[in-house]
């Protein structure tokens, strides 16, 4: 029976931990699922768009992905961190669909490392925290970085994930994430210095 006491549990679920939301979802709680959906839809949408480069395709794949999660909720394992799980399984889900649709297989993305993150000028803030990055052709230099470095950059600074979470998504250890990010930032700085010399 529903008890009428003022426990604001139903309305403040977004403040509760990942662990609890995930557990409620596994029990079929649609409210918990909606909280999860609202929190991750925008992030996964942008992530999917970067991989597929097609807006309506990304939209459809996300509908299918979340439906898949809900339908298989009882078989999901227990989780304390939702973000890395969702990013990783969505990436795999998306790649599976792309490969299935791609009959002539000229664009084989079955190898995850081939995913190429491209950055556009509109996505990058004009005023950067690191002053040296201001007023440079940042997207061009960024896009020239190795693919793994770009993926790490994207997950860290665009999706706002923690290094620990990125490690799980990219299937490498914590230190490798730090190294990838550090190498990327370092070569950005060097490239910018060189460009400034010539301009």
């Amino acid at each position: 029976m529903f008890s009428y006491f003022f426990l604001p549990c139903e309305l403040n679920m977004e403040k509760l931990s990942d662990h609890f939301i995930w557990k409620s979802l596994k029990e079929g709680d649609l409210k918990a699922f909606s909280v999860l959906f609202e929190a991750y839809y925008p992030k996964l949408y942008n992530y999917g768009l970067k991989i597929s480069k097609n807006a309506s395709f990304t939209e459809d794949s996300l509908q299918d992905f979340f439906l898949y999660i809900y339908e298989h909720r009882e078989n999901l394992s227990d989780l304390d961190e939702i973000a890395p799980y969702l990013f990783l399984s969505y990436k795999r889900f998306l790649i599976r669909i792309i490969n299935r649709n791609n009959k002539n297989r000229t664009l084989d993305v079955s190898n995850e490392t081939l995913i190429d993150f491209e950055f556009t000028a509109e996505e990058i803030m004009e005023k950067q925290e690191t002053e040296r990055f201001n007023k440079t052709n940042l997207p061009k230099i960024l896009n020239g970085l190795p693919k793994r470095q770009k993926e790490a950059i994207y997950l860290k600074y665009y999706s706002g994930l923690k290094a620990k979470e990125i490690a799980k998504i990219m299937n490498i250890n914590y230190q490798s994430v730090i190294n990838l990010l550090f190498k990327a930032i370092k070569s950005l700085k060097e490239d910018i210095s060189i460009m400034k010399l010539f301009n």
Partner: protein, 329 residues
């Protein structure tokens, strides 16, 4: 600001006070690190590396709008519901046949014996809600102090006064429309779920899923999408509200016998109680009017409802004849 040894880049990255220093956030942290860097010149390189990693690159994070997310959620919810209903379809189908047969019988009977269609009316009192299954299989939840009427030969055209939540079955073979008529407008649908409220001299429509068309009394038509909430008054000849609602349960929880309040002032919450139970509300001190209230109260049990509100806001509510008097403890 622990006395950790900062000899590895990770020590800096994971340190909250160091992060504060990078973003120049907390005066104590800024001060600490300024001094620390001055005293540890050999770590200058490491500090700079860590700072670069923390600031990184600033993206505009082209996030998806709230409207878009709520639209996509409604889409997903509809798919989930559809999948859950499917296995039961066969049973419903049989019911529909019997329903259709009984409609036919009624029509024939009315032609032969009455030569007119009887008008059926369902009515609820204060503090009472009613679930009705219409002859075409559609479900209606009628809120307190409300009524709907329809002719037996056409239960897909109903007149509403008060508030009701509709779950209309789609008639796929005939594409027959379903109409809800109020003093202000008519709602036109094929198959969907929505809420209509005609209390307070206006009609408010909230669409949970599907698409509906509204024909306002002033001749205007409007298409509504899931999550849209629109209210119109023919008296004022004006659309009063036209927004999106993300927490649909706030508008439709009454059909499960519950009123939900989310950060609502006590004055507004008591307004809802007034509507549902038909009691006049009197505030003895105006201060408690602004107390915010969040939670759920029952629609059909005034005593529990009063107790819950008293408990959460700290006011005393006394029942006297047809009034509820609210005073501070």
């Amino acid at each position: 600001m622990t006395k950790k040894k900062y000899n590895h880049i990770n020590h800096f990255l994971e340190d909250k006070s160091f992060n504060n220093w990078v973003y120049q956030k907390n005066a104590t942290d800024i001060n600490f690190w300024d001094v620390w860097i001055e005293n540890n010149p050999e770590r200058k390189d490491l500090v700079e590396k860590a700072r670069d990693l923390i600031t990184g690159i600033s993206f505009k994070r082209n996030l998806v709008s709230k409207e878009k997310v709520s639209l996509e959620w409604n889409k997903l919810q509809a798919t989930i519901k559809e999948k859950q209903i499917k296995p039961k379809r066969k049973v419903i189908f049989l019911k529909q046949i019997t329903a259709a047969a009984s409609v036919l019988l009624l029509i024939i009977a009315s032609f032969y014996f009455l030569n007119r269609n009887p008008l059926i009316t369902h009515k609820t009192n204060f503090g009472e809600t009613l679930k009705i299954k219409l002859l075409d299989g559609s479900d209606v939840n009628l809120n307190s102090n409300s009524s709907i009427s329809y002719y037996t030969n056409d239960s897909r055209k109903v007149w509403l006064s008060g508030e009701a939540f509709f779950q209309v079955d789609k008639k796929e073979n005939t594409n027959a429309k379903f109409f809800v008529l109020t003093d202000d407008l008519s709602v036109e649908v094929y198959g969907t779920t929505f809420n209509v409220n005609t209390k307070k001299e206006k009609t408010a429509v909230f669409l949970e899923e599907g698409n509906i068309w509204l024909s306002l009394k002033n001749g205007e038509t409007k298409k509504m999408k899931p999550g849209n909430f629109l209210s119109y008054s023919s008296k004022k000849n004006k659309v009063l509200e036209d927004t999106n609602i993300y927490n649909s349960t706030l508008k439709t929880s009454w059909k499960d016998g519950t009123l939900l309040f989310e950060n609502l002032s006590l004055a507004k919450a008591m307004g809802k109680i007034e509507e549902s139970y038909g009691y006049t509300i009197i505030f003895k001190d105006s201060k408690s009017k602004n107390t915010l209230i969040t939670g759920a109260v029952p629609l059909t049990n005034l005593n529990i409802c009063i107790k819950a509100i008293e408990k959460s806001t700290g006011v005393t509510i006394t029942k006297k004849n047809n009034t509820l008097i609210i005073s501070k403890k």
